[in-house]
Symmetry: C2
Subunit: 268 residues, 2 copies
């Protein structure tokens, strides 16, 4: 199918329209699309591995916040009303036995009726809240992908699944660190408060060498702040080498009908 | 084994000691035991049913807040350090094909290596916080079990599991309802804010006829306030009639090493 063009103002495109564009073949990173609506990570595994994935998420909720699950036989749900998980993401990653074998724009050649889809929260939600509070996000200003690092912290294992905690890093001015902690703590469903502030060496991290995404400069007066990252469950699933596992391509998120404000826990 | 005596001051007994007493055969309701420590519901099913139970909990988090999971082959974990889930609850309920067949004080005759244990939050945690705020709890003052009702609200189904939302009810003075909402909203891991305030008929409830527990009087000036109840997952599991399912006997909770304060989400 012919790929659609990127719309002039992606922020104004509602989620159902965005998913329709991706369904028609558009494949482009989704940062900045559908302002106010929640974007999500995907991890799709056969039913035989699904309990381990859901238990891993339950035991590591900051890294793996589950926003929704499509059980075997389900290809849509309330987070993508009228949509189809097999086509509504711009680009997917397909792993066989832990090896990346394809990056298709739909799953027509890969779908099986026993596949279970996990829709996992993404830090895009709290980045918008940080920006609204006047806290600049370095990788957004630079137009790059957030830097992500494998840490020396192990997640709680679940069955066949184990792996390192993966974190994302954002440099925050020292006098706004407390604000960044407070604001993100109100979004526990999308990674919540930071897991670590400053001292990258304690996590076994070299800031100049991200494992995923792009390095950003930490300027004088800024502190590197680390949040649990939604890549964590994908990293663990890949390590366990299931016969088949599917994710979204980096930056090509599922745009859901949920609003970022749905995940705000009000400090009543 | 000879049953131990109830200690003189159960509130002062630490969780590990409480579990040791139950392991030795004591069987008594745990309300008021181990002050400040978190008590929990149990639901234990074969691994073949475990994904459905965990997915049901994920889709109905207010009714089924998962505090911990012991996977197949695990009989202890960080919530019951040094303990044994097969013996450390005072009294269990055993269901075969959805029918109650035994209420043993340990699971020696019933345990199988494929059983998975779900440890589910309990409203005891937020009741203590309400009392600390000067809000009296009627069923505690009367020394009875909290009244619980099957509602006309259906839970989100998960695989073979479906069932009604079960709620607990506490009469709250009209001028403290807002406080009760605010306080319990800070404990999302143990049912959180009420699901319904006033108007029992809208839930299909006759206050005088609880489905579980004991009726309490709603006095003039008080409003019936309804919270999602940890009996909900047990009710759904029973309806699905697995070959074997095990719970705790009503009021005979698992006393964990977690503190109630661990589940307080601070309104920072």
């Amino acid at each position: 199918m012919a790929a659609s063009a990127v719309p002039a103002d992606p922020a104004a495109v509602i989620p159902a329209e965005a998913r329709a564009l991706f369904r028609e073949g558009l494949a482009t990173p989704t940062a900045g699309w559908s302002a106010g609506f929640t974007q999500a990570n995907l991890i799709i595994v056969p039913r035989a591995q699904a309990f381990d994935v859901l238990l891993f998420a339950t035991r590591n909720p900051k890294a793996c916040p589950i926003l929704g699950v499509l059980d075997a036989g389900e290809t849509s749900g309330p987070l993508l009303a009228g949509g189809d998980i097999r086509s509504d993401v711009g680009r997917y990653t397909v792993y066989e036995n832990g090896v990346l074998v394809a990056e298709p724009t739909d799953l027509a050649d890969w779908w099986r009726p026993d596949l279970v889809t996990f829709i996992v929260g993404c830090s895009f939600t709290f980045e918008a809240a940080l920006q609204e509070a006047g806290i600049a996000i370095a990788h957004i200003e630079q137009g790059t992908n957030v830097p992500m690092y494998r840490t020396n912290v192990r997640c709680a294992p679940a069955g066949a699944l184990s792996g390192p905690l993966v974190v994302s890093m954002r440099p925050i001015p020292a006098d706004r660190v407390a604000d960044a902690v407070r604001i993100t703590s109100h979004y526990p469903a999308v990674h919540g408060a930071p897991v670590h502030v400053g001292d990258p060496a304690a996590l076994g991290i070299d800031l100049d060498r991200p494992d995923f995404g792009d390095a950003v400069v930490v300027r004088p007066g800024e502190v590197p702040v680390f949040w649990a990252c939604g890549v964590t469950p994908q990293a663990a699933v890949m390590e366990s080498r299931p016969t088949l596992a599917i994710g979204h391509a980096p930056g090509h998120m599922l745009i859901t009908d949920a609003r970022d404000s749905d995940y705000l826990v009000s400090p009543a």
